[in-house]
Amino acid sequence: MLKSITKEDFFTRVGELSNDFEIIGPMELPLKGIFYQSILNTEDLYLGDGFAIEPIKKFFLEPSTRLLRYPWKNEPGVESFSPPERERIAIGVRPCEAKGLVLLDSVFDPPASSDLIPNSAPGAGKKSSNRAGSTYQDAFYTNNRKRTIIVGLACGRPDRCCFCTSLGVSPAGTTGMDVLLFEIEGGFAIEIITDRGKGIFGALGKELSEEEKKLLTSVNNKREDLLEKKIRVPESMDTIFTSDYWDKVSRSCISCGICTYLCPTCHCFDLIDERRIKLRCYDGCSFPHFTLHASGENPRPTKKERYRQRVFHKFDYFKINFGENLCVGCGRCIRFCPVKIDIGDIVDKAPLSKKR
């Protein structure tokens, strides 16, 4: 269903919704950038062309989640934390980030049991789905997914780091969205995708005329052309596992967590005990201690192995397990890398022809 609404109407409706929902959306902090935050005043919502620094992931797979607690008592015992019961609407989510959530679903909320989110099915027709065969559902992640309606915003001005089209994501893609907004003159074109979306915005706006629809389609088609960066994604990379290519491309890596923490699809975590609470916190394969064993042995002792792991997880292993690349081409890891390492380039230029 495609409709158009004025900005005023849209924000009024968001204001109404904030009575029943927590509104999450991008907010611009002067000199700092754009951040997804809990929005208390609808005027704070930033729906321009800029991208948030952190992806929407942090509201689903949280940077730290408190799982359980074991009090300082003689009697052994565990108290687990229950996921919070609050309904949310995430506004301004980009197509790449929404696609990222769908990819995360395959790990934390596998499709077999996830009937609440219709669009979460992994790409049909791919060679295999969920080879891992996992049916584990993470209570916290699933809860966040179930209780959050996603209102997307199509991209108007991709920057030089964006390469989503190379990963099958479109700047106007609807995967993972309940509603998608297109900025048009005087307001938004609004595409209602799911029933949940209809539930909150269904009564709003007026149908688009055929002409307007046509215009929108043509604009949407042009959106893809705005992307300068195109990369070639190989089917498999296992021929170059032992190549010294990895040594070369990882040399300038400083082993920080920017690329993994800001990635909409990275989902490695660590379980930590702090003051008798068990926490789940982000972890990243780029950190030197990522796979450090208690014995002191580390199977990935250098940047080379760790960087290769990151690329392989995204463009090889995940594909084997879930049939898709674990990358949505959002460009964050390139944009924010302090030493300008470009994963797109590295994948694109991987010397695949070299046989093992």
Binding site: P63, R66, P76, V78, F81, S82, P84, I277
Partner: protein, 162 residues
């Protein structure tokens, strides 16, 4: 196994929804004191043997030397809602290990200024020299600390979620 469910509120913590501690009127601050074994701890012992009364708000952690006190200990206390931290050692020149308090003095001069800069009330982190002969001084010091930290109020910025 004793298993129960406890609700967790917003993982995105805002300082606003921190539970305030007891109202300031009845506020009894919790103070942690790191005391060197040879002077300050012995001074506190002397206050005991001399039966000099002082408020019970201080918890003493015995360390061999003020030079043993890691700033991370102090930070850990403050971040977990302790209302005041005291590091106390031998007077300069009296250190049992001859130099420990010199290092402590330098280290905490920097930390104290840094904490103030970050916006932590300077009353919450203090340093003192108390000798083994200064039982009276120890008692007086604790009394003054408790008063000062009562004035500063509960350390409500931190530790509310723990």
């Amino acid at each position: 196994m004793n298993k129960s469910q406890i609700p967790d509120h917003s993982p995105q913590k805002n300082s606003g929804d921190r539970n305030l501690k007891a109202p300031i009127k009845d506020f009894e601050p919790k103070i942690v004191g790191f005391l060197c074994n040879w002077c300050s701890y012995a001074g506190a012992d002397l206050a005991g043997t001399s039966r000099i009364k002082y408020p019970p708000n201080i918890r003493v952690i015995r360390v061999p030397c003020s030079g043993r006190v890691n700033p991370l200990f102090v930070l850990n206390c403050l971040m977990n809602g302790v209302d005041g931290v005291l590091v106390s050692g031998c007077h300069i020149g009296d250190c049992h290990y001859s130099e420990g308090n010199f290092y402590a003095r330098r280290r905490f001069a920097i930390l104290k200024r840094l904490l103030e800069y970050i916006g932590i009330d300077p009353r919450r982190f203090q340093m003192a020299w108390v000798s083994a002969a200064e039982g009276e001084r120890w008692a007086k010091l604790v009394g003054e600390l408790v008063e000062e930290i009562k004035e500063a109020g509960p350390n409500e910025h931190f530790g509310g979620n723990r």
